[in-house]
Amino acid sequence: MNRKKQFLEGLLTQNPVLVQVLGMCSTMAITTSFFNGLGMGVAVLVILTLSNIIISLIRKIVPDKIRIAMFIVVIAGFVTMVDLLIQAFVPALADSLGVFIPLIVVNCIILGRAEGFSYKNGVVDSFFDGIFQGIGYTVVLLIMCIIRELLGAGTFGGGLLGIDGKGIQIIPAEFGIKMLTLPVGGFLVLGCLIAAMQWALNRNKK
């Protein structure tokens, strides 16, 4: 399989969030600061890659009828491991992501790739698929974080850079559109991003 094509699919033409529209809950809920987005993106990338590898290894042993239950058990195992690791080494991230770390289990991206890709393909292809799709997801999360943070609070890199991790102030705080940091902003920004993606993909076709 062509790696370059696979990479472009993960990042652009088959982007998990913008084109396949999977895993919306976490995308909108946690993209309030750069730190959250990066942490969530990396967590999903790791879990997706590991579960892709295991599922492509066991795909020939597992009976067709109970495959979904098997996928969920494999994914839940890895999510628990990552959850415990985050709680132990990055407690600040565990606090700010809260219930959304265990909820990676029901993130449709991971189950979707298991059913749609790694159940049908070999180990090496599945490994790269996990990494590329994970990168695609992380990039979208970071773009949303940057937009919502910059326009909402006027800062960049919240939770990571600046004094006390408050981020670097680029636009004065009083000019911020407060609405974008609230749940409403998640819906609106994601809607506009998907629209931009549809516009860009359709333009290339003509």
Partner: protein, 196 residues
């Protein structure tokens, strides 16, 4: 009396102020996927409410009688998702036998409830807020009712979106997301709601 007040506060917060869809972002996938027609939206909402109520009760028992006494707290995610998956499977078999009409009406949406993050979310939130049995079940039912309210309102707006005039790139999901965003803005008005 105090407990009744507390239950009322939990209910109001779950249905309006902290609506699962509009302020907690739980259950967005079925919310966007199954909201093209009001009829199916109602069916999905009722099914989710039912599963959320049962899942709250059972996961509470699992947490209280299995995970806590044996110090298995770290197995929580795995245990809960297995309980929910088997619960959904069981309900599916029960409905097929006892109420075939409802079963055919719900169709493919029933197995999809397993991967609805609102169900696993309500189980996790119950543990996090250390709710007792009655509080957990109340939170499950009212959270489900909040989901039902949101999805039915959204579906009725979406049915009319067909006649609306919007830019071509916004077709499909984007316009639905923008609509949901405006509804979330409206629901934010409830956040000032303080009863007691």
């Amino acid at each position: 009396m105090d407990q009744i007040y507390e239950l009322l506060a939990i209910s109001l917060s779950a249905i309006l102020a902290n609506n699962f869809i509009f302020s907690q972002f739980l259950g967005i996938c079925p919310f966007l996927g199954v909201s093209k027609k009001v009829d199916t939206a109602v069916g999905m909402g009722i099914a989710v409410t039912f599963v959320m109520a049962l899942a709250s009760a059972i996961t509470w028992a699992v947490q209280r009688f299995v995970l806590d006494p044996f110090g298995l707290g770290y197995m929580q995610t795995v245990a809960f998702i297995l309980v929910i998956a088997s619960l959904v499977q069981f309900i599916e078999m029960f409905l097929q036998k006892a109420m075939p009409a409802l079963y055919t009406a719900l169709g493919v949406y029933l197995p999809l409830i397993t991967t609805n993050c609102a169900v696993l979310g309500v189980a996790q939130l119950n543990v996090q807020n250390s709710y007792g049995f009655i509080e957990s079940v109340t939170y499950g039912i009212t959270g489900g009712l909040g989901f039902l309210l949101a999805i039915v309102l959204f579906a009725s707006i979406r049915e009319r979106l067909v006649f609306a005039d919007y830019p071509k790139s916004f077709e499909g999901f984007p316009i639905a997301l923008v609509t949901a965003g405006l509804m979330a803005l409206a629901f934010m008005g409830f956040s000032g709601l303080k009863v007691w």
